[in-house]
């Protein structure tokens, strides 16, 4: 179920109480780097997901051209 905070749409997720307490402690000790557990969770997820999704800088056609050159040079 979605709702809005400061105009931005948000959704609720559930995590274990134990993990939540650890996160809350981390936020308290972060000396203001994170203002809330929500902010910390959002930061960590962004980091993890951005590592997984790589923006391709070439089209399928360009990739084929690259492979052609690699074949011609004997790399493939």
């Amino acid at each position: 179920m979605g709702f809005k905070i400061m105009g931005e749409e948000k959704v609720a997720v559930h995590i274990s109480k134990e993990l939540y307490e650890k996160a809350r402690k981390y936020v308290e000790e972060s000396e203001g780097e994170f203002k809330s557990v929500d902010e910390l969770v959002e930061f960590v997820l962004k980091e993890v997901l951005s590592e997984e999704v790589e923006e391709k800088v070439f089209t399928k056609e360009e990739e084929e051209k690259i492979k052609e050159r690699l074949r011609a040079l004997g790399y493939i």
Partner: protein, 382 residues
Amino acid sequence: MVSKPHGGKLVNRVVTGRRREYLLEEAKELRKVSVSESLAADVSNIAHGVYSPLEGFMVYNDYYHVLYDMRLANDVPWTIPIVLDVSREEILGLKEGDDIAISFKNTMLAIMEIEDIYKWDKREFCKKVFKTVDVRHPGVSKTMHRKDLLIGGSIYLLNDVPEPFERYRLWPVETRVLFEAKRWRTIAGFQTRNVPHRGHEYVQKAALTFVDGLFVNPLVGWKKTRDYKDEVIVRAYEALIENYYPKDSVVFSVLRMEMRYAGPREAILHAIVRKNFGCTHFIVGRDHAGVGDFYGPYEAWDIFNEFPDLGIIPMFIREAFYCMKCGGFVNEKICPHEEEYRVKVSGTKLRKMILSKEKPPEYMMRPEVVEVILNFERPFVE
């Protein structure tokens, strides 16, 4: 999965098609700045994403942060400023917002939008980057002879400098496709400016034991005197790989980029560059990118502790030697025997033997590699 490009996106500043034709015409009308071979290589490296996330030569804000914090202004790790030096005369009358044409010899390389013009303190640069202002250091000596102003801004590449080793020139976009085609998920990058001896082979194969593929990527371009010439390095590696490496486990490609001899800071730059090529691991040598005794033997290892967010895994593999008791190549961590049984492969000793046309023994260098090197009348930079 190949490594994510440094800073998140692989830069592409290469202009093609009709836009290139248009910009080539426009470049004729612009003030021209002629650059050295090393800077021409930097222009290509920026445009082809070797230096991602840089899109041009550094503006003051990035220059300052890299010099003092070893990070770009946006906090992405970066250790050596990539800068374009010009004389006052060359840019007389130009201001921020103007365009210039960058050329090398008769080749129009690129157009650059000037975003920043600033002075640099070359001594301070040397102190930070090379940790010395001693002019016996080749990087210091070269920096002190550079021009007095720096200009920063994005570039648009129109032409690459012709590459004598075109058959071995691959750009990051190509190695990324290649590594994926080979289904390599882990790739160790190996940086070198030397011909391979048995110690190098040991280090590379030790790394290869743990990863899917090895990317041997020697630097070609300006080097100090008494280093091996580029062609000697390329031919020596051809002989080694042909005879001693499994074909599906190694990719050999050259990178035209200046050796700066900046030790630990350069080790980080070398790792970043290989990350952009798609490497997940990077082999860091003892006294990596060092020269003389300007850096401690393991300084280039220690600096990696300062970059937990580098995004490429350093592999610290100890220097190898031949142990007569072990009966093979080992390192100090795995060999229990005394010094008297250990035979070290010294680059200096090898150089002396090669200069006097003497064949180094097989435990130092593979005979096929020796033969290739000795076929060169003058194998060293003079």
